[in-house]
Symmetry: C2
Subunit: 434 residues, 2 copies
């Protein structure tokens, strides 16, 4: 007998007995009936058991027992999903060795985050946690389809590298056959080099940051959605592309994950056809005028200022999204292209989503000489970058790109307070397991 | 004026002047005319220059100069692709700082592999190298679409782990905030744990093997296409799935990369609807009968034996592909499920492609107790695996999966002798850069 999924019961109505397979999510034993909740990849189904022998068989089973159940589908408005299964018989497919360490049956897990993360492999079985990740998986599909449609090439660049790409101290060291190697902090210079080959590239892969401070927004390893495009004139073309990529990610969620959205009681943000934008210095002037704080001249925006801008964008433009452009050169990485008319600012942008930075991007330098000058201006030794910079020696068009952090994206979409809540197996300075 | 790609010239016929952008691939200066080859992401176009001033302008340019060219499209059967561009004027978009270290203009690069790999960022601009990778990128799309259609969930599991997943000495050690961590040799136990959450999962990501010996088939870092599926009965269901996934990968290449296939002069292999299969012991008996070598009783197949089997499959079944099933338990990883009727063999398989192993897969253990027994039988300490094995404590259905090495797949499809030829930036014991 072929298996039917919990989410497809409607199609199994009137077909006689059907087989369901899944996990024993929960059971309520009443005096003459047992309500058994069976969970599979599509959802949870209610099985109604009246037979006394079957009831006592089920009563003895641990939560999370893997079961095969045969029964008849019946419409019932009271049942979750509008259908339930009657006249059920069970077979145990696989028995647990122990009771689960979490109460998966609760609508929301009540355990504290560290407990949930310690038991991640089991905790993720909870329908809400599972649904959050599914939004991320759908987002990946939407990301790729937008870029495939625009003739981008997917690339895979090495994570074991010979020098830190983004500089700074937050780089992991690897024992590489007896000599030091590093884990790539980003595919930055590789994706730029690949513009010389494919013009337009993207990569979805892990990046590594040895962040010593645990915050709710940072992980030691996360999934970066990287894009790089050649033959641009300036960063505004990247902002248009980013808007369309995000629209495709949201559309993929809407199309593929209506069940997850309903379960999480989420409505996705509206993405305007043109996302409002504000210049960095102009943004600082507005904040100064509104708050009285002295911020003009500061090289970066504090989180409180980003929140202020998020509220401003919602109020003035009715938008959850806001581009801030023209970040100061001193605070952007050495590969950032300066503003031609005002070189203390850059052809770069951040995209704020509800007042939190979601995406960083911009135009890059494309001339070999400009790289040497930029490294010299920052007193960085060009030697460790020599192999990367080779690509720029041999003719590279103006180009730029951006990177979206997958886990941060899911956190913003779901409203999770901590990025760890929506990461399958988060890594930070104190957590390397499971 | 909007840009037209080299591959789209036909659509630009009769439209008046068009703009092309790309790299100066090669030029031949004759007495009254210059033939300039411009390369963009779609291919190479011939520009015919008669004007003396333009000819001398172009003659002074280095190879790989980034150019914008305006001219009129003309049909010419002699020209590559059947079209060329006349009355051309040029603008330099970006000037190289040096001559390229390789002769990209040659139909096939003549430089030795180490030279090519040392200059990978530039060498990959060669149309043949570029085309090989594009076959890989299309394969990734085909892999995902087959699995998305079967309700699989894409996952991203950590590459920084607290213990070696596949055992053995070939694991890289990372300094993780002052304590040791390891780079994941595979997502094996994570993808299995995720069967408890999503039932069906896949992951495309880097895996890391500290292989001290350099061979033409091994890399220290490669892209693994991992699949895991729950609620199976035995490994044959995985073999059916694998066949369909490979069919989708080949179909995606055929649909998206006809240009690359033509350039590489490749015909893709025929994939039979049912791939022939042979039992491991039966295969050894055939090899012994045919060659006189004593192989029955050996725990593994030597590369020469795999080649013999590849020839046998071609001869007897007309197939480039052959499944070998039932590998001995002693040579498979601890998580492999034994054959119920013959526990010295396993419910596992290798897929040989033209006599070389391409994919390994099989059914896994799913009971916590069986894991403890399997680890004990191999005298492995269960402590480092405790966190992974937790998932199996709480009800896990029978499941299994497989993994395809992306670079090895491209090498087999293209006939590359060395997997490094088709890897963007290969890593091995002697190579960590570029």
């Amino acid at each position: 007998m072929e298996r039917v999924l919990a989410g497809d019961l409607k199609s199994a109505m009137g077909r006689g007995p059907v087989r369901l397979m899944g996990w024993l999510h929960h059971q309520r034993q009443l005096s003459h009936v047992a309500f058994v909740l069976l969970r599979d990849r599509s959802g949870v189904v209610q099985l109604v058991v009246e037979d006394a022998a079957v009831r006592s068989f089920v009563a003895a089973l641990r939560a999370e027992t893997v079961l095969s159940a045969i029964g008849t589908v019946v419409a019932n408005e009271q049942a979750p999903g509008g259908f339930e299964v009657h006249d059920v018989t069970f077979e145990v497919v696989s028995e647990p060795a122990d009771d689960p360490p979490l109460e998966l049956r609760r609508p929301t897990l009540k355990e504290h985050l560290p407990t949930i993360l310690d038991s991640a492999a089991v905790a993720l079985r909870h329908p809400r946690l599972r649904a959050s990740w599914r939004l991320g998986a759908a987002s990946l599909a939407g990301f790729r389809s937008a870029l495939d449609a625009r003739d981008f090439t997917e690339i895979a660049t090495p994570k074991l590298v010979s020098s830190a790409t983004e500089g700074g101290a937050n780089v992991f060291t690897v024992d590489y056959f007896g000599r030091p190697a590093y884990l790539a902090q980003s595919p930055q210079l590789y994706k730029q080099a690949m513009v010389g080959v494919f013009e337009r590239v993207y990569e979805v892969g892990p990046v590594f940051r040895a962040e010593p401070h645990d915050t709710t927004r940072h992980l030691a390893e996360y999934v970066s959605l990287d894009v790089e495009m050649g033959f641009i004139t300036e960063h505004s073309e990247l902002m248009t592309l980013l808007r369309d990529v995000l629209a495709s990610m949201l559309e993929a969620i809407n199309q593929r994950e209506s069940r997850s959205l309903a379960l999480l009681d989420l409505r996705l943000p509206d993405l305007p056809a043109a996302i409002p934008e504000v210049d960095f210095v102009e943004a600082q002037r507005m904040i100064e005028a509104a708050t009285g704080e002295e911020v003009v001249g500061e090289p970066d925006l504090a989180p409180a200022h980003e929140r202020w801008l998020g509220e401003w964008a919602a109020r003035e433009h009715g938008s959850d999204f806001l581009f801030v452009t023209g970040y100061p050169t001193v605070k952007r990485p050495f590969y950032t292209h300066p503003r031609p008319d005002r070189p203390e600012q850059t052809n770069s942008f951040d995209l704020l989503f509800r007042g939190v930075e979601l995406v960083t991007g911009g135009q890059r330098l494309h001339r070999h000489d400009d790289y040497l000058s930029a490294l010299a201006a920052r007193e960085l030794d060009p030697a460790p970058f020599a192999a990367y910079l080779d690509a720029f020696k041999y003719g590279m068009p103006p180009h730029g790109g951006f990177a979206i952090g997958l886990e941060r994206w899911i956190a913003r979409i779901t409203g999770a307070q901590n990025v760890r809540e929506v990461t399958l197996f988060p890594r930070d300075s104190t957590r390397l397991s499971p």
